[in-house]
Amino acid sequence: VTLAPDLIHKSRLRQALIWGRLRLGWSVESTFRLLLVVLLLVVAATTDGIFTTQSMLALVNSAGLVGCVAVGMSFVTFGGHIMSFALSSTVGMATIVCSALSEYGLGIAVVGVLAVGLAMNALQGFIIGYFRANALIVTIAAASLSGGVAEYLTSGQTVYAEGAVLAPLRAKMFGMPSVAYVFVFCLIVAHLILTSSRLGKRVFMLGSNARAAKAAGIRIATVTTATFAMAGLFAACAGVLIAGRYGAGMFDYGADYNYQAIAGVLVGGNSVAGGEGSVWRTALGVFVIALISNVLLLRGFSSEMQLLAAGLVVSLAILLQGRLKR
């Protein structure tokens, strides 16, 4: 079959685009993303007071906390479940448990919190995987349930930690807050799990095509349970850090982390449909949002404006994943 010369000529631009994409890994979307990042960096660099220690510490502190939850959220997104609405409540519950257990020492408190976070979310994952129930609905229900349990346990009061037991959690090492180290640790662990373990491979397989994964003999219930357990584990890490920062625990401390975490995952360029992605992208997304918030703050915009900006950036990130119909 020979194409008419006219047709070949018309599609030369498209051929060039395809060549660039195949040989150089270049695409319109990636260029657009790069331009946006450059724009953000230029705006940031021209903002007064962005390079002060104080501003940088604030950036690291907020990005680190959101980052831990976002790393957990990445597992859920990569596994094809879009997002979990129960990570906020995991964080809130973790702060309560951490403060309540602080009288037995820091080690027990941390282990207890991680166990609670893991168990809460593993149970949700089991229900989702075993019955193939909808992840969004199950996690919404779990968030409501754990809110009720937290209210019952604390009667809506703040739980104060024992003395200075949690003080090491807000210590600084080499000028960086402990949040930064925990976040980097979580990031590396999550990256290793996702790239070098059987679980990681299965998470991605399940995310890209659940029916094919099942046909390939993957036990969906087990993998989904593990996926959500991981998400709970990393969210609980953020809860420990928050309890350390305030020296207290309250369910509402977790309030906005669901949305901030999924924002980080999507702004980093991970596919909302699951099946692919990397936690490094998630970390990048979290930092981009934190940087935008910081720039807006320093330029005198209200905190409400920062919320709207985050929403718009997430929408843009989602729109960039679409394909224009030609």
Binding site: M83, S144, G148, L319
Partner: protein, 339 residues
């Protein structure tokens, strides 16, 4: 087929049967003196219906065509804020503006899905965050009081003992939706899309316009409901209204809808909303605290989510064959899930 099987197979009938059971339970409790039922109780149930109903109806329509609108909380809150802010000029203009904003946002989301080929959950997730942020920016993060108390009195006034303007509006939108889904070609097309999108396309159903229209209707209904609630409370808050998602989703699933699409009708959703309202009224009447309410809501939602799981029947079958020592392979039903 016995009448019991018939009722249990049809989502709307099942929901109606549950609703009747609820009503009998409440009446029995009333007779036993545990709760005190009066016209005021019916009024409060209907007020609850008016708040959750339209949102659940819109969400139910998106679920019917195998999509999901997660931005309802955003449009609900934004509608309330717009209604109060514009309503300071003229309350009717405020309501109109809220409905118009809902319509525009819904259309925008629907068009985005169609022209960028994106999943509805993804697009509406962005919408949820953006609309929520917009509500915060508009109100400056504060709760906005309304000066116009006459409008609030008008909206809250009882009509024929148990109704209010709000609940009549809710009943009207349900009636229109029930007619459109049950008796028009549009409704048949929607059910066809939800049951099997590819087959619907082959059969010549105009899938894309219907998708855009359903999301426009859903956003309009939630903005309208948020606006009416804010007018009735004489206040709008960007955050305080965000607990609408849980009751709305629960009501829709209780009403016989399935996230696999094609199932559930507006009347079933109405029954689901009423079940939930009665449950809340009953719980409050017997003095359950707020965490008890949270727990019950969460458990009900969890139960309906499990009941909606496509592999529930397989698991039950496995369980039964385990118990009866006969080892037989479990039948699996494959139906591509929504997400």
């Amino acid at each position: 087929m016995s009448i019991l099987t018939k009722v249990s197979r049809n989502g709307t009938w099942r929901a109606t049967a549950m609703l009747l059971l609820m009503v009998f339970a409440l009446l029995a409790m009333n007779a036993a003196g545990r709760v005190h039922l009066s016209l005021a109780t019916v009024f409060s149930v209907l007020e609850n219906f008016a708040t959750i109903g339209p949102v659940a109806l819109g969400l139910g329509l998106t679920i019917l065509i195998r999509e999901f609108d997660i931005s309802i909380a955003g449009t609900f809150g934004l509608g309330g804020c717009v209604a109060i802010m514009v309503g300071s000029l003229n309350p009717w203009l405020g309501l109109f503006a809220a409905v118009a904003v809902g319509l525009v946002l819904g259309l925008a989301q629907g068009l985005t899905m169609v022209f960028l080929g994106l999943k509805s959950v993804a697009v509406t997730l962005g919408g949820l965050l953006t609309f929520g942020g917009l509500a915060y920016v508009l109100t400056g993060g504060r709760s906005l009081p309304s000066q116009n108390l006459e409008m609030a009195l008008f909206v809250n006034a009882t009509i024929w003992g148990v109704f209010s303007v709000r609940s009549l509006v809710a009943i009207a939108v349900f009636a229109i939706a029930a007619f459109s889904v049950g008796w028009t070609r549009l409704g048949r097309d929607m059910i066809a899309i939800g049951s099997n999108p590819q087959a619907a396309v082959s059969a010549g159903v105009a899938v894309e316009p219907i998708l855009i229209g359903v999301f426009a209707v859903c956003a309009t209904l939630s903005a309208l409901s948020g606006a009416l609630l804010s007018v009735s409370l004489s206040a709008a808050s960007p955050s305080g209204l965000s607990d609408i998602v849980i009751p709305a989703v629960t009501a829709v699933l209780l009403g016989g809808s399935s996230l696999l699409g094609g199932a559930g009708r507006p009347l079933g959703t109405a029954a689901g909303v009423l079940i939930l309202s009665l449950l809340r009224t009953g719980l409050t009447a017997i003095g359950v605290s707020s965490f008890g309410n949270d727990l019950v809501t969460g458990l009900v939602l969890l139960a309906v989510a499990i009941a909606d799981g496509p592999e529930l029947s397989t698991r039950l079958y496995e369980l039964r064959s385990l118990l009866s020592t006969r080892s037989t392979g479990a039948p699996t039903m494959h139906r591509s899930s929504l997400f």
